[in-house]
Amino acid sequence: MELKTKVQAEPGRQEIFITRQFDLPVDLIFRAYTEADLLAQWMGTKVIKLENERHGSWQIETSDPNGNVVFKANGVIHEIVTDSKITRTFEMENTGFPIQLEYLTFESTSAETCLLTVHTIFKSVADRDNLLKMPFAFGLSMAHDRLQNLFKN
């Protein structure tokens, strides 16, 4: 079975491509990226600011169940063409990760399907690899905690 979401990360390059096929028309996917209440819902975050225009800025904030802010990100939108593309920067606050540049391309593949490509450029190969490792490292540390809890009892 073909995967709907693919990640292409060539060794030694400071970029990645994430592609996703959606069973929905392209305008609905573009709306999910540009309407603050929709973005907030699928990203599971609070959208503080989202100015969909050239030189507009965006800002998001994610909290844990106790209301503590655990993640903050922001950036500037450089290009935005309805149902076609968004070019923006992405900065994760207080993480030490350099700012990334993202090219989002929305392509209609039929009346009812579309393809989204997120092309991300990193400052260095090491920065890219560190970001790719985050979910893996997180999974490992969670596994470690769960194992410790299991065998403590």
């Binding site: 929709l38 699928w42 997180f138 969670m142």
Partner: protein, 106 residues
Amino acid sequence: MNLRRDVFQAIADPTRRSILLLVASQAMTAGAIAANFNSARPTVSKHIQILTECELLHQAQVGREVYYQLNLEKMKDIADFIEPFRQMWDARFNSLENLMKQHKKS
């Protein structure tokens, strides 16, 4: 050579990668692992055996049950970092798709 199988060969198989990701979140019995797959139980057992042989899984006896857990040290040697990253984005995009399917209906 103590290792009967090569680690990278072991993780090249998608079912075995799925098993590693399953036990990454919690230690599981062979039966609980097999319940996540459509494959026949002996097929899944064979995959578990291969992962155990190349030390990616540890066995731990808890009462009468044998639990399989991730061998964290061995896993650190593997550079297959992309799959968890892909799954994270796949889950996010699934949320996006489900959300917008509701909007399409309304």
